[in-house]
């Protein structure tokens, strides 16, 4: 039993390392090859965990090779457009100028009903609103609405808003988030001066966000009576 425990720890470490090496992507955002590799990793890692007679190194080597190849192929795909298309396919336009391209749908083996369902999931219930719809290589549908159906933007209204950059969470649960300070180019002293003005202790802060203009929002920890 202890052997199983140690094997599980080793495999966990190997799998976490390899998944981190592959990069951050949600399942729905993965390219087909990445999805297959992810499933294979879990499958290969489970074999020596279930069967102690299988050498651990066999699975670890297989995992290493699979992930390394996946990284090589994606790196080459960045340089070589044709390899990228070969490995990941290319986006397919299924609605062009408001017209459904039945030939493109046929190639993707997608029915009109599937397309309509995917559009509904994007809160589009009328085809007449659509200018272009494109099936991306990860299977997601991107839609460009006709100009008359698009949301009004600040730019359309001719307003030039002031931009103070993104607010970063500089304190979480009473602890300073150093990466946020680095992003903002601020120091711990800057935060403390803001807190002093607000007469708040750092330890009492649940969340404090701050932008480049030092505009801060503070959410205090709710104290129990």
């Amino acid at each position: 039993m202890t052997v199983t425990l140690i094997r599980a720890i080793v495999l966990y470490a190997a799998v976490i390392f390899l998944i981190r090496l592959m990069g951050k992507r949600q399942i729905g955002e993965m390219q087909p090859s990445e999805l297959v590799i992810t499933f294979l990793i879990s499958e290969i890692a489970s074999i020596p965990m279930q069967d102690n007679t299988v050498p651990l190194i066999n699975s670890v080597i297989a995992l290493f090779v699979l992930v390394a190849l996946e990284i090589f192929i994606s790196a080459i795909g960045l340089k070589s457009h044709s390899l990228g298309i070969l490995m990941q396919g290319r986006p397919v336009i299924v609605i062009r100028d408001g017209e459904i391209d039945m030939k493109a749908l046929g190639k993707l083996r997608i029915t009109v009903s599937d397309l309509v369902s995917a559009l509904r999931q994007k809160d589009i219930f009328e085809l007449k609103q659509i200018s272009y719809a494109i099936y991306e290589t990860n299977g997601k549908l991107s839609v460009l609405l006709k100009p008359e159906y698009r949301n009004v933007s600040i730019n359309d209204m001719g307003i030039t808003p002031e931009s103070n950059g993104m607010p970063f969470p500089v304190i979480c649960d009473g602890k300073t988030a150093k990466y946020a300070l680095q992003e903002l180019g601020k120091s711990e002293g800057d935060i403390l001066s803001v807190l002093e003005k607000e007469k708040t202790n750092k330890e009492d802060v649940a969340l404090m966000t701050m932008n480049n203009a030092m505009q801060a929002e503070i959410f205090k920890t709710k104290k129990e009576d």
């Binding site: 102690n52 007679t53 050498p55 080597i61 992930v67 390394a68 990284i71 790196a75």
Partner: protein, 126 residues
């Protein structure tokens, strides 16, 4: 780029480990095979003391190699070889010459099977 470098390192490690482990496995298994073969050939003609020496040497070889074998090959295959080798001194002690030969042949067959499974051949790859 950092990822590609790490991937290259782990790929290189995998390739070097696979090739070197395969070489070590084959070489050690062949040594063990030869040692068992010596026992088999001298089982009819050899002296009991000479046979005992050879069996002890084979046992020693097994004890030396088995940790590496267990890392590289399926453990069930190793257990069969181990059982056969461990039965050799018992068979010699009880004068069971036929059993001694049988156990030698069993271990040698198993070693041959494992060596064949390590070969890069059409049958093994596909």
């Amino acid at each position: 780029m950092k990822r590609v470098i790490i991937a290259s390192v782990i790929f290189l490690f995998a390739v070097i480990f696979s090739i070197s482990s395969s070489y070590v496995f084959k070489s050690d298994m062949n040594t063990l095979f030869d040692s068992l073969n010596e026992i088999l050939t001298s089982s009819d003609s050899g002296e009991k003391s000479e046979l005992k020496e050879k069996i002890d040497a084979t046992e020693q070889l097994w004890n030396e190699f088995s940790p590496v074998f267990h890392v590289l090959a399926v453990h069930s295959g190793m257990e069969e070889i181990e059982q056969s080798i461990m039965a050799l001194p018992v068979a010699l002690e009880h004068g069971e010459n036929e059993l001694l030969k049988e156990k030698c042949i069993d271990a040698m067959t198993q070693i041959k099977n494992l060596l064949e499974a390590e070969e890069i051949s059409f049958r093994n790859v596909f």
